[in-house]
Symmetry: C2
Subunit: 515 residues, 2 copies
Amino acid sequence: MQKISKDDVWKYKKYVCRAKCFDITAGGKIIVLNEQEAHQNDLYASHRVILRSGGKQSIAIVDVSNDLVQAGQIGLFAEVSSELGVSDNAHVEIVHMQRPDSIEFIKKKMDGKALAKEEIETIMRELMQNRLSEAELASFITSVYIRGMSEDEVVGLTQSVVSTGETLQLGRHPICDKHCIGGVAGNRTTMVIVPIIAAAGLYIPKTSSRSITSASGTADTMEVLCDVSLEIDEMRDIVKKAHGCVVWGGALRLASADDKLIKIRNPLSLDPRGVMLASILAKKKSVGAEHVIIDIPIGRGAKVPDKAEANDLGREFINIGKRLGMKIEVLVTDGSEPIGNGIGPSLECIDVLSVLNNIGPLDLRDKSCQLAGALLELSGKVKKGRGNDIAVQLLKSGKALAKFREIVELQGGKHNLKLSDIPVARYKHKVLADKEGRVFHIDNKMISKVARAAGAPNDHEAGILLMCERGDRVKKGDVLYEIHSSSESKLDFAIKALEGWTAVDLERAVLSSMD
Amino acid sequence: MQKISKDDVWKYKKYVCRAKCFDITAGGKIIVLNEQEAHQNDLYASHRVILRSGGKQSIAIVDVSNDLVQAGQIGLFAEVSSELGVSDNAHVEIVHMQRPDSIEFIKKKMDGKALAKEEIETIMRELMQNRLSEAELASFITSVYIRGMSEDEVVGLTQSVVSTGETLQLGRHPICDKHCIGGVAGNRTTMVIVPIIAAAGLYIPKTSSRSITSASGTADTMEVLCDVSLEIDEMRDIVKKAHGCVVWGGALRLASADDKLIKIRNPLSLDPRGVMLASILAKKKSVGAEHVIIDIPIGRGAKVPDKAEANDLGREFINIGKRLGMKIEVLVTDGSEPIGNGIGPSLECIDVLSVLNNIGPLDLRDKSCQLAGALLELSGKVKKGRGNDIAVQLLKSGKALAKFREIVELQGGKHNLKLSDIPVARYKHKVLADKEGRVFHIDNKMISKVARAAGAPNDHEAGILLMCERGDRVKKGDVLYEIHSSSESKLDFAIKALEGWTAVDLERAVLSSMD
């Protein structure tokens, strides 16, 4: 007997309706069919259909209604009517669609079997075609979370994600890049490393992200100084001129499938290791990176809890990077406390510019130079053991500052940027020590929460200015930190939010047995 | 330090907008906020908010738009505006909502840990409150599929599902019920068993489902004769009078959470065993069933492939049933071929009424009597070994037919229903044997597909009338089956759909080594 796919029968099925356009968006490609007519045609809510009209076609998800559309009508939200280019009463052909091939592969993963490269490619392709529902994607991510992914699968996923998007095609070498696993407040090393690497004559086309739950992402902080939403051609031109840039990755179309995957990962707070690795490496690969430093912060409150796990993760980065043609070095750093004094876009800019002016916070300066130095060594530009010194020299000589100013200006910022150009918040509130003691812990997450409550990152000037660091002895009434905001009510809100919790812990007089 | 939940900070957050009503449904409780304003308030797409207006409140999912709504406006689709009872320009307060508690428990299941009863209850409660997104639910079902569920968890899930809905509260005893795992075309035993059990003086408040992928569900078939969309009070009255009924479960609010779970299970074709067990048993429990027969068909094309797996599943039914206070017996039956002659609502009614008139297909009659007999024995009404005989007697005496007519009439159907009352399709097409041979296999899925292509189950008269059974010798040109439809074009469509596949297999002259 000839083998019949479950859905072959539908290849004959189609019917024609007249468009009824709703001039609003539905947040997805949704059409509304008359319930009775849809059922007569074996279409039910959440089925997929192909729509054809005047030579154009679109894929959409069916919703049904008894009163919204009559038999013979198809209700179109703006996403679909604009794609088809139709207006009211246009003829639209509705064709039953075969089930996405991905569903079989998602079930295969669910059942604990490894996916072949072509199967992963199919999932990414159908994801990009909007053929997969949120539920199907969530099912995929959940399966990957539970079943894990082999090195082969991560390589396949990375390549598939890269192929869904644009690539930078810089045409210059060597191309360097860096990535931090994140979670450390104020950790703006990127904005120091990029000018150092660029000043050393290497290329570093850096894409950064905006904040999701933190007080600021590198893209948010850089945006205080200049435009970060660049087109890929503008980015390429700037990197060719200045050897570096700091732009928002979200505005480009690099590794597009990843942006769609992230939408599912966020609400569930799921970040399966295989998907995380592929997501990071696809972004590096799509700018053509050859030498990459990965910063893995560990410690209390960091995403990676300890050295052993950081080493495991690091080895995976290195091995998979090698198979993708990238030389990767991993630095495990202390991420238990914030870096720098400022947390929030403007305050972080002040730290960065201070470091470039050789007057900034030492922790930010030292960490940036170590990472930049490792990247210089990895690229072969400088000898092993000399990277940090060269990086410090590029800072001291003012070459890194000059390079940073050049990049800011090319990205549409001020000429000859100075510290005094950075806006400072109008409203401030000092948080005082309520007893004598020693600063025992400064909590990344709490600091971020207070900064967000004060308006960061949308209010650039909002944030926290730390006045103490771990180990400092303080007296009752000493200032621990300032909360900044450009809105008085937001400042009040942040102060209220503080009730009941502590961002800066003072050591207890009596040792308690619990942390 | 006081323990702070990740979302406590938002308890202070709310803002007020003016309603802009879109007079259309969105297929879910979705609101549209101005993108910039939403972000300033730390709200992003897919966040949940509580909406308050004029003393009413609703929970909705945020969508954002740059041009659809201005700052200060909230776009409301019909689902939300009707729930809040607001029209344009009404003040709506938007309150940040804490993350559903379920997310933690879904992750716990993902991580392979068993869920406590209260945790399962929380998931079902939040599901009913529409607080869980499709992605979150899909993630839950996927986790249960991969990780499985312990007996304790299934008991907890069943009880939670029961408690989300109404219960019948019949107040009469003993209450019997039956369930078939499904997948067998034409298998309308329920419509024969219910009148037999009711005629024997027991109670059988039967809820049935509509077809999802088959040619007809019991509810679709019964609907040819009478109303099946009853309210729970009507159902109770009928069962008190007639001792039985056959109604559509979907119209009642029994085990409501299950209807929501099914929506997720269908698109993914996922039916994790634990969820399936809970889903079936919750429906039995919610009508107060004490004695339940479960029919598990096995064989080629059936949902359960073999006897060993049927026994495993059966044991789980029995054990979990015991813990829920239900006495369960499991019958493993042959499900490799259709039962009865007709497939499709009207044609199945003809089979059922023929059996009740003692002229019907023997396979449907025998299976129904065996199942009814087992239920009579299980309830203690008749002695072990006598059930089948008593069931046959109730058929032969015409008592079952009288009872069936009583039920049909109480459900709004004709008085004194006769075979000639059942409508027959106008258009028919005979499918002939293309060679001499012996009927080797009649395929449930293929038969269903042809019947659906002809219009079943929405076209009641559409379907297949089998003219042969497995083992029959046929000559070239003999009629294998008829396709029925009340629409000529649908009939043509079904004939076209048949090209290339075979619903009735004829044995090959030469034995092949492959099936």
